[in-house]
Amino acid sequence: MEKTIYNVVCTVCGCCCDDLEVKVKDGKIIDVKNACAVSLSKFQNYSNEERIVKPMIKENGEFKEYSFDEAIEKASKILAEAEYPLIYGLSLTSTEAVGKAVELAEVLGGVIDNTTSVCHGPSLIGVHDIGVVTCTLGEVKNRADLIIYWASNPVFSHPRHLARYTVFSKGKFRKERKERKLVVVDVRKTATAKLADMFIQVAPNQDYELLSALRMAVKGEEIYLDEVAGVPTSKIEELADLMISCEFGILFFGLGLTMSLGKSRNIDAALSLVRDLNERTKFLIMPMRGHYNVTGANEVIAWQTGYPFAVDFTQGYPRYNPGETTTIEILTRGECDAALIIGSDPAAHFPVSAVKHLMKIPVITVDPHKNATTLISTIVIPTAITGIESGGTIYRMDGVPLECKKLVEPPLGVKSDEEILTEILTNVKKFKE
């Protein structure tokens, strides 16, 4: 039996494109329309040989297959006995599942954090001090005549961003490409820079200096230096004029700002620049959130605890302090004594000293596929792939909520993140009594 499912929401990057057409035959996905290269790779490979279908527990170095209930029971016991358990990941799953993880963290008296802390965590820290002047992507499509990508390379990281929402999109007040100007600021001449009307190459780790000079130029203050961050002052003033004279400008920024020297203060400067521009014209800013539901995870953790990520429940109520309650420091200070990793691969994406501690403590990983983290885990529990084998709510990079649908059944006996977390929660509550 063959059917085509329309308006499918893609669950890869923060674009959350919702116009995919997926053809399913006898419970298998056989074709996907409107998907970009990265999305296509997910739909083609989601059930390859690296797929985990049976829970496994490591005994003296070797993984042995166990039943779902046995794995859940053992995992719950480890987490319940821990004095400082860490729950991390949660950007590749639905807000309903993340909500369950928050409840689990509260019952355990542990820390819950998502990949935000190594992605746009610094952006949220900047917002705590400055605020943010932003909008939904449709405002850009309909109105923007100046689009800036700063330290972000969407052609690689968000392949359909330009076509669906910015320079190549068709909106109510902007019909053609020539009605819009594209500016790219980056340390390299990226694939996106090659499409730009203006490319500014900033010296590595000097974005803060450039933003500071740009703020001066926008305020009409004189910049004494003839070059800042490797950019001639005349070019800085040219960009400032462009920003002041546009009708509706938008500054998208990426990990080049959050991960380089200055981190959340680079964002301070960018948020302040865009805020100040509103005294001259209409200007907005938006972080290029990476995963399809990293934003949703922040939203649900915030409405349930008051804080967007890195929440410590050890004393029975939410406490938040990035640098104290964030995952990298908890690992490098060697403080947590057990970890539950959901839909993430920290062993591949964290610096060595953080991964070293993960290798010393019991780690439970909930993931559809083998990866570096499952290899170093104590218990591995397979899960359904959100957006393909299970549904739920996800939030686009601009905060627009969407519901992704279940397209096909997961492998036999494999449950969804939400179901797994609910099972662990019930078991932990029993242990804690």
Binding site: W303, Q304, Y317
Partner: protein
């Protein structure tokens, strides 16, 4: 379900004209009944006041704007938190509480129904997710339509019936409850960084005026027979002299009152009741507004009272929040939403010593005290704009006791004290009138037949306050009043005791109310045909993904409404 008998309380049930009589209230299976068996659990409410559960008509508790406010203010949360208990989840306060804490704190004050008054249709799925995680209270939300591109275009083309079909479809699609209008046309102009300064100024590109938008949506509200009138935050909010716009807006729909019913609800009128021409000579426009409302029958308001405390202002009025940022140079969040609306958030501190804040404080109370008919007044602080809802007991005490007001009047800015009429107003609200403005009038205005009263068949949502009505001398015992309303002796929700003396003892899930508006099939078919193409051009999401199905609400209460069209 268990039976409960509340004995010998002084009952205040204005919708059934009960004004402090000593009587018993019987509950069975979540409903108020005539009588119960001897097995019923007895609550001895002697020397106590019994009222229907509180109904809050306007409180920003859920959705993308509120959550942006939470993320903006970790420093607000760190000083006010709730530790988890056997029954309750942990959380934080103060001015933008997390969802669990919001539900518990309302229940502790005896409130059982709260409406989120501003949700962008495109992001209402987020609002519902948060309402699902708001325990105990029943709730609903008002979709923002005052700057909607489709509505302004239908208005320009004069297609009233097709627009009514669109509004009906939209309320269904996002499971909303009433039509909300914020700074009509002004927030759309803010999409270009501009604003609208009077009722007859044209919106850029759409060439319709705020007056036309308000009248248009008022007509549609009548055509669709929606339970609540249009709920409007007028233009020029927060601008000295804006009381004129407020009265003009009321007058603009005077002729549209359908068989004598209220045709317009003006929200948080304090922020729209400024007289004077600048911050220096700011004065209260409450007397003029009250005068107009006392002379007319088509208008009702909620006051939006200011509390002297630090809080977080948040409205869909993007341009106003920008002005507030320029005044305060505080942190500022702006979040425009494609084809629909906007939002702005600025932390703010109201000080007694500040001339403007003191006048604002006076305006709110003057409105409540000068408008004669309490059925036209709803008590709100436009939480958290005027102040957190946890301060409602203070407002109740100020309304019931002149002495309570004087204690504050003597501490506010001297010039403000001189300019306000408030010091000279002696009126003191009775418990009966308090029951009207905090539950009876609100339930009636929202069209909630089973709420806000204790007649048989009503939902068993009840609040019992430790106030001995016989001995009570409100003007003196304002401290007692404040204490009693701060922590209800008992709060009963759907026939179950949920709070006792400020402690949550049970945490059931409340229902999400929404209006299932029906129009004739052929008008809907025509409308949908035309809508489909434009939808894809204006939005960045597909129409199918815009629609929220009822199961998404988990516990939903559908109110069916038949339209004229």
């Amino acid at each position: 379900m268990s039976e409960i008998l509340i004995k010998n309380g002084f009952v205040f049930d204005p919708l059934n004209n009960i004004n402090g009589e000593k009587m018993d209230i019987a509950i069975k299976s979540g409903k108020i009944v005539e009588k119960v068996s001897s097995k019923a659990k007895v609550i001895d409410a002697s020397h106590m006041i019994v009222m229907p559960g509180g109904v809050d008509i306007h409180s920003h508790i859920a959705g993308s704007k509120v959550n942006s406010g939470r993320v903006l203010r970790p420093e607000d949360h760190v000083k006010d938190y709730e530790v988890k208990t056997k029954v309750t989840r942990s959380g934080v306060g103060y001015s933008v509480p997390s969802t669990f804490t919001t539900g518990y704190r309302y229940a502790k004050m005896g409130y059982t129904t709260v409406f989120e008054p501003a949700t962008p249709p495109l992001k209402t799925r987020h609002t519902h997710e948060e309402l699902r995680d708001t325990p105990i209270i029943d709730k609903g939300c008002f979709p923002l339509l005052g700057n909607n591109w489709f509505i302004m275009e239908y208005l320009k083309e004069g297609k009233l019936e097709e627009c009514a079909a669109y509004v009906s479809w939209l309320l269904n699609a996002v499971k909303g409850y009433a039509i909300k209008i914020v700074n009509p046309g002004g927030t759309e102009a803010w999409g270009w960084g501009k604003g609208i300064s009077h009722l007859d100024e044209e919106v850029p590109y759409f060439n319709v005026t705020p007056r036309e938008i308000v009248r248009w949506l008022c007509k549609i509200n009548n055509i669709l027979n929606l339970p609540h009138p249009i709920h409007i935050h007028t233009n020029n909010l927060g601008k000295p002299g804006n009381y004129v716009t407020t009265i003009e807006t009321m007058d603009a729909v005077k002729d549209l009152s359908k068989n004598g019913k209220v045709s317009i609800h003006i929200t948080h009128v304090q922020f729209n009741g400024f007289a004077g021409t600048s911050w220096l000579n700011l004065a209260s426009g409450a007397p003029e507004i009250a005068n107009y409302i006392n002379k007319n029958t088509h208008v009702e308001i909620d006051i939006g009272q200011v509390i002297f405390s630090d809080t977080t202002t948040m409205t869909a009025d993007g341009p106003f929040q920008y002005i507030l940022y320029l005044l305060s140079r505080e942190k500022w969040v702006n979040a425009d939403v494609e084809a629909e609306t906007g939002a702005g958030i600025v932390p703010f501190r109201y000080k007694k010593s500040n001339y403007v804040n003191a006048i604002q404080w006076g305006i709110g109370l003057e409105l409540a005290l000068l408008i004669k008919d309490p059925w036209k007044v709803h008590m709100t602080t436009d939480h958290p704009n005027g102040g957190p809802f946890t301060h409602y007991p203070k407002v109740i005490a100020w309304l019931m006791s002149k002495k309570a007001r004087e204690r504050i009047i003597n501490k506010i800015n001297k010039n403000a004290k001189r300019r306000l009429d408030l010091p000279g107003i002696d009126r003191e609200y009775t418990p009966y009138e308090i029951a009207i403005i905090t539950r009876a009038a609100t339930a009636k205005s929202l069209g909630l037949k089973n709420k806000g009263h204790l007649g048989t068949g009503a939902d068993a949502d009840i609040a019992i306050y430790d106030l001995d009505y016989e001995k009570l001398n409100p003007s003196e015992d304002y401290k007692l009043i404040k204490k009693a309303f701060k922590q209800a002796a008992y709060t009963i929700k759907n026939g179950e005791i949920v709070a006792k003396n400020g402690e949550i003892v049970a945490s059931p899930k409340g229902k999400i109310y929404w209006v299932n508006s029906k129009v004739s099939d052929d008008i809907q078919k025509v409308m949908l045909e035309n809508l489909k193409t434009k939808f894809e051009e204006y939005y960045t999401v597909k129409m199918e993904n815009y629609i929220i199905n009822e199961s998404y609400l988990h516990d939903s209460f559908m109110l069916n409404v038949q339209s004229e069209v």
